[in-house]
């Protein structure tokens, strides 16, 4: 006897799973979310909070554009704060190389009809007071901004519950039962849960779950780091990219910036992966001080790490599996926070109608049909051996 059953079981209480669950519950569906830790305990509560139209990734643009639109009214929609600030995003060039990126992003944006504005150094200075005098120029993306990941994930979770959704935290999915090309139920540490449709939005573990359902999802997990300073008076309200970093000034005033090398790792199905910081946080601090010399004396008061997963082409995978045909895969390739509201809409569309009104044609599983099974090893996207 299953412990519980629902029309839809969502695996993973990150922002992708919860957004999907929210829109499904809003459409009147009976939904369970199963999360092995606490909501937003992984990448969804640990990311940079940047939201943009993703001109750098054309296949993502439709989803990203819709997402920015949804973010704008999300607080009212959910009834809880997300700290979304819709003031746009500034990409700053402090080197010739970064200026090169800016020009190609501008071209890409224009090609997709996305509103961007080139900035000269003094215009950058106006938007980001205290920015380095080494600034060569910038690009302003009018649509986009940032939000507080922890608050936003919790907002989705609470709003989902307010609609009658059932949230099982500290409950891990340990098995997927398939009969006659359909998933019938999932096994969890709290018993089995029957479902008509299963949505797997389990971050890096999505691959391991899919394997149990007989679906191949090529993703590799990596650990990335980020630092936070003490609060400052309001300096800028845009999302900021430059000097190899990305970040924002939070509503409270702290500067939160990340960037730098990631480390490829492996995860297992049910335990919480270790997320130590490394001395890389000093390099991040330096780059931040270089970018904003005016506030170089601000103390760093914490840092943290998070785990993201990457598909070979650095793009999310959002698709219905061919077999079992009631199994939906959602993994974000480290773009997941900004696109989360639209991701949820898409998943809800896929469940309700079998296809999505937002163009996700570039995000399907079939794009990997020719992928060499040893792709991770070939690219070196595997954990390194301990050096000492």
């Amino acid at each position: 006897m299953p412990t519980d059953s629902a029309e839809i079981v969502v695996i993973g209480g990150g922002v992708s799973g919860l957004s999907s669950a929210y829109y499904l519950a809003k459409a009147g569906k009976d939904v369970i979310v199963v999360e092995k830790g606490m909501v937003g305990g992984e990448a969804s509560g640990r990311n940079g909070g940047m939201i943009s139209e993703r001109t750098d990734e054309p296949a993502l643009i439709p989803l990203a554009v819709e997402s920015v639109r949804l973010w704008a009214t999300l607080e009212d929609e959910l009834g809880y704060p997300t700290e979304f600030i819709h003031q746009g995003r500034v990409q700053v060039g402090v080197s010739e190389e970064e200026m090169g990126d800016i020009f190609s992003e501008r071209d890409e944006a224009l090609r997709h009809g996305i509103s961007v504005e080139p900035l000269d150094p003094s215009e950058v200075q106006d938007l980001v007071p205290g920015i380095t005098a080494r600034t060569l120029g910038g690009l302003f993306f009018a649509n986009g901004g940032h939000a507080n990941p922890q608050r936003a994930v919790q907002a989705f979770a609470w709003a989902f519950q307010d609609l009658g959704g059932r949230l099982y935290q500290n409950t891990a999915v340990t098995g997927i039962n398939v009969e006659d090309d359909k998933v019938t139920s999932v096994e969890t540490t709290a018993g089995s849960m029957a479902a008509d449709v299963v949505v797997a939005a389990a971050g890096p573990q999505t691959a391991l779950l899919a394997e149990m359902a007989g679906v191949h999802v090529p993703i590799a997990p990596a650990r990335v780091e980020i630092i936070a300073t003490a609060p400052l008076e309001p300096l800028f309200d845009i999302a900021l990219v430059g000097n190899g970093l990305y970040g924002r000034q939070a509503a409270r005033g702290n500067l939160l910036f990340g960037g730098g090398a990631h480390e490829w790792i492996d995860v297992d199905l049910t335990s919480e992966p270790g997320k130590p910081n490394t001395p890389l946080i000093r390099n991040i601090a330096r780059r931040l001080a270089e970018l904003l010399p005016a506030v170089a004396n601000t103390p760093v008061i914490r840092s943290w790490a998070g785990i993201v997963e990457q598909a070979p082409d650095y793009l999310p995978i959002i698709d219905i599996a061919d077999n079992p045909s009631n199994y939906i895969v959602v993994t974000a390739s480290a773009h997941g926070f900004g696109i989360a509201p639209a991701t949820g809409k898409v998943v809800s569309d896929l469940v309700l109608h079998g296809d999505s009104s937002i163009d996700i044609s570039g995000l399907g599983l079939n794009r990997f049909s020719d992928l060499d099974p040893r792709w991770r090893e070939e690219r070196g996207w595997v954990p390194s051996f301990e050096r000492s």
Partner: protein
């Protein structure tokens, strides 16, 4: 990168003893201590609870006057120990699951000019303990400080301008602090305890009584008040067995310092960063590292000693407990480095162990009932609209209501239905949720002043024993460090030039 076979963090009694012991058998040791604490840190309430700002007249207290030259430290220097004062350890790093690219285990160090990394083969954490702080009405005024903060300020400046102290806590910590205050010419106008009897050593009590110090048992603080953000007076009130204030027993005393000496919490942050296993032992202060009889933690190469390994009030009377733990750790580390043979090490250690056994005084008892009693009395006398997290301005009521921070000016039906209690209904109580949602614990003192209070409130709301409440996570740097100081002068050319963009396809990736 700098490197040392043995790094000892903390030049207190235990750390210095460990360093001496190792140096005596020829181990090359660095002994690192952040004292004298820079004024900048004092202002941030790091590492001690110094108060909202220094009471007037104390701001210029010169750090030069405090040079921790104990006899033991001099001995260590004589033996060739590399003693580094004014240097903090802000991080500990080692290779492990999901972090395998470090050049060996290392500590992050900083002074007021720069930061750097140092490799170690063995690490002894002897970082002591910090003050337990629980808020009463007015505890955010200048002049409220912890016992460690007060000790440090008295040491820095022989003439602490403050003159009249109310001391909370009648354990040995409180009594010793009172004595130290008297020696510094500060009048101790009251020693207050919520318990019906004085907690500490009888001889200390007698000594204070002789000096005319008044002890108020079964009392608490109703409020502290004053002008210009500084304490001028404190209202004490008698409490009954349930901690309820007894009407008509209020007594106002004039004072310019209130010193919290109600408990100490082992400084386990560097151990936590290394994933050393921590277990909850109320009788020695809460979360403490598991260690064996050689003071080795669950992580190879990392040892502990002194208050950081677990603190009880008896250790204040008998410094040999910490000293002997330090010696044990020093020998164990030296032996594992091959500086002394196993038999010789075992002989030395069993000698110390039998010394420890012969000194063993009264068995320490659990402390959290007492902590809860303080909190309960403050709540009953002064309510919940009292700051729990002074950095972020979060009150106890806001923690209990799981309220978003005030600056968001958020109000909604839905939010009002949520609270800490509804939160623990669908998830085991975890103080990290308080941190994420209310921001208590996210401030510049890095949660030093609110962790225990937040955990106590959570245990209460969740109706869960305090031992079940996990530790609010510690993150590096465990000292607030300016960007310009974290800045790595020694950044490698590779890190400079091969800095990747965010998982960008056309970029090479390190690691």
């Amino acid at each position: 990168m700098e490197s040392r076979p043995l790094v000892v963090v903390g030049a207190g009694i235990s750390g210095t003893a460990a360093a001496i012991q190792a140096a005596e058998v020829g181990v090359s040791v660095s002994l690192i201590d952040e004292n004298p604490i820079p004024n900048g840190m004092v202002g941030m309430n790091v590492p001690h609870f110094f108060g909202q700002s220094l009471p007037p007249g104390n701001e210029s207290a010169s750090i030069e006057t405090f040079i921790p030259t104990t006899v033991a430290l001099a001995e260590a220097e004589e033996l060739g120990v590399d003693v580094r004062l004014g240097t903090c350890v802000w991080g500990t790093f080692r290779n492990r699951e999901n972090s395998r690219l470090l050049d060996g285990p290392q500590v992050g160090l900083a002074d007021t000019e720069r930061s750097w990394m140092m490799n170690y083969e063995r690490l002894i954490i002897a970082t002591g303990a910090r003050d337990l702080s629980i808020g009463f009405v007015g505890w955010d005024l200048a002049g409220v400080m912890g016992a460690n903060g007060a000790h440090s300020l008295m040491n820095r400046s022989a003439n602490l301008a403050s003159r009249r102290m109310v001391l909370l806590g009648s354990g040995n910590l409180g009594l010793k602090t009172a004595k130290m205050a008297l020696e510094n010419g500060i009048e101790v106008v009251a020693v207050v305890d919520v318990s019906p009897t004085v907690q500490g050593d009888a001889a200390l009590v007698e000594a204070l009584r002789t000096e005319g110090v008044e002890l108020f048992t079964s009392h608490t603080v109703k409020e502290a008040a004053g002008k210009n953000g500084c304490i001028e007076s404190v209202v004490l009130v008698g409490i009954d067995d349930d901690g309820e204030p007894v009407a008509g027993t209020e007594k106002m005393v004039s004072a310019d310092i209130v010193c919290l000496a109600i408990g100490l919490v082992p400084n386990v942050e560097l151990l936590s960063l290394l994933d050393c296993e921590l277990t909850f032992k109320s009788e020695i202060g809460g979360y403490v590292p598991r260690h064996d009889d050689r003071m080795r933690t669950s992580v190879d190469d990392v040892l502990v000693a002194g208050d950081a390994a677990g603190f009880h009030d008896g250790m204040i009377i008998d410094p040999d407990i910490a000293r002997n733990q330090g010696r044990l750790a020093g020998i164990a580390a030296s032996a594992s480095l091959g500086a002394i043979g196993p038999t010789e090490a075992e002989d030395l250690m069993s000698e110390i162990r039998s010394e420890i056994l012969s000194q063993a005084g009264a068995k320490p008892t659990e402390v959290h009932t007492g902590w809860k009693r303080w909190l309960g009395s403050f709540v009953k006398a002064g309510g919940q609209d009292v700051l729990a997290c002074p950095c972020e301005g979060v009150t106890r009521a806001e923690i209990i209501g799981l309220q978003p921070p005030r600056y968001l000016e958020w109000g909604s039906e839905q939010m009002n239905r949520r609270s800490l209690q509804t939160q623990v209904e669908d998830n085991p109580a975890n103080p990290n949720q308080i941190k994420r949602l209310t921001r208590a614990g996210t401030g510049i003192c890095q949660g030093r002043r609110c962790r225990e209070q937040a955990a106590l409130l959570l245990a209460e709301e969740a109706n869960t024993p305090i031992s079940e409440i996990p530790l609010m996570t510690y993150r590096p740097p465990v000292r607030p460090l300016p960007l310009s100081i974290m800045w790595p002068d020694d950044e490698s050319e590779q890190v400079r030039t091969e800095w990747p963009k965010w998982f960008s396809p056309n970029n090479k990736v390190l690691g």
